[in-house]
């Protein structure tokens, strides 16, 4: 099957003060095929957005790739020049963001901004924009409205229209529903599914809501401290989570509570990238902690459909 996106052993580091080098992402391995959807799940600060920004090549100036490659439609983008990147952004890969109100320019109408996103020459830009607005479920008058006149859901639909009007093959949705209420979020999810069906779009869906991820995506990658700790299809993740972190995440879902239960959380907090714990990064919070977890970094173990980084399923040590 044709791979739209393939990330191989990607590592991203942060240039700190002086010569300090802080590793943000390590050994990220994901691939997305045509019309496929992959969800990146994890707490804030686990590296989901950095992964997305790496694909767009929109990392902050002080971050750089130190290993691995990113193949978009078969060609590596880690070494591309700014001009080639511009051709890629929007037409091969697009992105939508968490807070649509902040990502739309307040001084232009929605229509102007969608028109601006159109690449290449075309006579009837306005007609195409109007059609596309209709396709994402907006009325024509939205064309003439300013972002502040639109509701959050409508703003997100405008963002989707901007991102998809050039018919890209991959859409990165960075927590697109976090700022929206549940019913609006449902509408956006349905719209994305619809677009995947119609335009043969692949989607990387970034969220911290594992229930939403399971609902939306066929495959799920759970991230923790800059690594993918578990990668599997969504049923396996939901029904049979292997990694203790995934397990915790799922057991925290409110849907699993009975009335009167205390809200469950994962003890501890996401580690600071400057100061990652030795061995498995999750070990300070892990209930199944063994001696080896503190000493060694777990490598990838394949169990059924699932790839997992945990010593409970094998003694695979990560090669440095």
């Amino acid at each position: 099957m044709e791979r739209i996106l393939e990330i191989r052993k990607l590592g991203v580091s942060l240039r700190g003060i002086g010569q300090e080098r802080i590793r943000i992402l390590q050994g990220i391995d994901i691939s997305v095929g045509k019309k496929e959807s992959l969800s990146l799940v994890g707490e804030s600060g686990s590296g989901k957005t950095i992964t997305a920004m790496s694909v767009m090549r929109l990392l902050p100036n002080n971050m750089y790739f130190d290993e691995g490659e990113i193949l978009v439609c078969g060609s590596d983008i880690t070494g591309l020049e700014e001009k080639e990147l511009r051709d890629m952004r929007g037409s091969d890969v697009s992105m939508i963001f968490q807070e649509p109100s902040a990502y739309l320019n307040p001084v232009f109408t929605a229509g102007t901004q969608v028109i601006e996103a159109i690449k290449g020459c075309e006579f009837d830009r306005k007609g195409r924009t109007l059609n596309f607005l209709k396709e994402v479920g907006l009325k024509e008058n939205v064309f003439y409205q300013y972002p502040h006149q639109l509701s959050g859901g409508m703003q997100q639909r405008v963002m989707i229209a901007m991102a998809l009007i050039n018919n890209p093959s991959l859409l990165i949705a960075d927590e697109p529903t976090t700022a929206l209420d549940v019913t609006t979020a449902y509408g956006i999810i349905e719209l994305l599914k619809d677009m995947m069906e119609k335009h043969g779009l692949s989607v990387i869906f970034i969220t911290h809501d594992i229930a939403l991820a399971v609902n939306f995506a066929r495959r799920i990658a759970v991230m923790y401290a800059g690594k993918i700790v578990e990668l599997s299809n969504s049923e396996a993740i939901f029904n049979n989570p292997l990694h203790p972190y995934t397990e915790r995440l799922i057991s925290c879902l409110p849907e699993r509570y009975k009335t009167g239960d205390r809200i469950r959380t994962i003890e501890g907090k996401v580690p600071d990238f400057r100061n990652l714990p030795g061995g498995c990064a999750f070990h300070p919070r892990c209930p199944y902690r063994k001696d080896i977890c503190i000493r060694e970094k777990p490598g990838e173990t394949i169990k059924g459909d699932t790839t997992v980084r945990c010593f409970r399923y094998g003694e695979n040590v990560e090669a440095e």
């Binding site: 929109l58 890629m88 952004r89 990502y103 601006e116 690449k119």
Partner: protein, 351 residues
């Protein structure tokens, strides 16, 4: 725009009035060829330094059928003493005929707004030492004095916005280089830099060349401080999420700067723009006053004033020669009031 005007009207009466006053001045400048009764270089030798001759309405204690002027009787040509000649009456007519002039570069007209036929003369603001009508010259001069402000501001703002935008957006070495350049320009005192630049060019240029030269000199000095402020604003605006979104759509840096970053600075820019127009008008006046600006016989408000400077006799016996200075004052103060008003209206805290 409508909302803007309404708000300006309600919050700041003076600046609203200034806006209309300035529009009126610019209208006069545009229509100078139609309104001025005489060409700017027409010399009435026999009537040099004649005091203002205003239209009258009463003759012999009776209301006349329309406004008229008396003829001018020369009492003493050496001391420039004049008196109205009550025996000669010339009615002031609207749309009088005269030699053809070109209006706004393409409209041909041989009728002027008003004038006096035959021997009679109408000098609303008197005449200068060569007997040229000061009123007509003020009108023609406003073409230069007022347009220099607008054109100069336009050039220096385009420069300032671009340099500031590029500097702030790209940062790093580009930023350092451009800002050091700005500092070099800002290091020199404004007025001496202006004089030095003017002196660097040959003095015997045609009037159009001089005009363009002055505009360029003034705007080359004016853009630096603006670029600096714009850079600061861009530094903060470029962190806005919609800039990231625009980049993620694959827009070029130039487009991101001009479409998404610079418009966000406009509330400041428009105010600064209005407030800096007077600087250009005054700059031109100062250069012309020193004889380095617009050359005779072409009038500008500055060089019309230069005749009076250092000539006490003219200053005391012909105070109407100061009228161009009064116009400079009005234009400058109106721009300042307007800028003030715009600043208040643009400031979201005052809504």
């Amino acid at each position: 725009m409508k909302i803007f005007l309404r708000r300006l009207k309600h919050t700041n009466k003076i600046s609203f009035f200034s806006l209309w006053f300035l529009l009126f001045l610019y209208l006069l400048a545009v229509l100078a060829d139609f309104i001025a009764p005489y060409p700017y270089d027409l010399q009435h030798r026999e009537y040099a330094l004649c005091p203002p001759i205003l239209p009258r309405f009463f003759h012999d204690g009776r209301v006349s059928p329309g406004p008229f002027v008396y003829g001018i009787k020369v009492i003493n040509p050496a001391f420039k003493e004049y008196a109205p000649d009550l025996s000669r009456i010339y009615p002031v007519r609207l749309f009088t005929k005269g030699p053809e002039r070109t209006l706004m570069g393409f409209l041909k007209t041989n009728r002027y707004l008003f004038g006096v036929n035959g021997e009679g003369k109408i000098f609303l603001f008197g005449t200068d030492i060569h007997g040229r009508d000061v009123f007509s010259r003020v009108l023609y001069g406003s073409k230069i004095s007022l347009s220099i402000g607008i054109i100069g501001v336009a050039i220096s703002f385009i420069l300032g916005l671009l340099v500031g935008g590029i500097s702030g957006y790209f940062g790093g070495k580009t930023d350092t280089f451009l800002m050091r350049m700005v500092e070099i320009i800002m290091m020199f005192p404004f007025f001496y830099l202006m004089l030095a630049l003017r002196a660097a060019f040959p003095p015997n240029l045609s009037s159009v060349q001089v005009y363009l030269l002055i505009v360029v000199i003034l705007s080359l000095i004016g853009w630096a401080s603006l670029a600096r402020i714009i850079r600061g604003m861009v530094l903060s605006i470029k962190e806005e999420e919609y800039v990231l979104a625009a980049r993620s759509l694959g827009l070029s840096s130039f487009r991101v700067i001009t479409r998404h970053i610079l418009p966000a600075t406009f509330s400041y820019t428009v105010t600064a723009l209005t407030l800096s127009v007077p600087g250009y008008i005054l700059g031109e006046s100062a250069l012309s006053l020193l004889g380095l600006g617009i050359q005779e016989p072409y009038p500008s408000w500055g060089n019309m004033l230069s005749v009076t400077v250092g000539n006490l006799r003219i200053l005391t016996t012909a105070p109407w020669m100061m009228i161009p200075g009064f116009f400079i004052f009005l234009a400058v103060i109106a721009f300042n009031f307007l800028g003030d008003g715009i600043r208040n209206v643009m400031d979201p805290r005052n809504w």
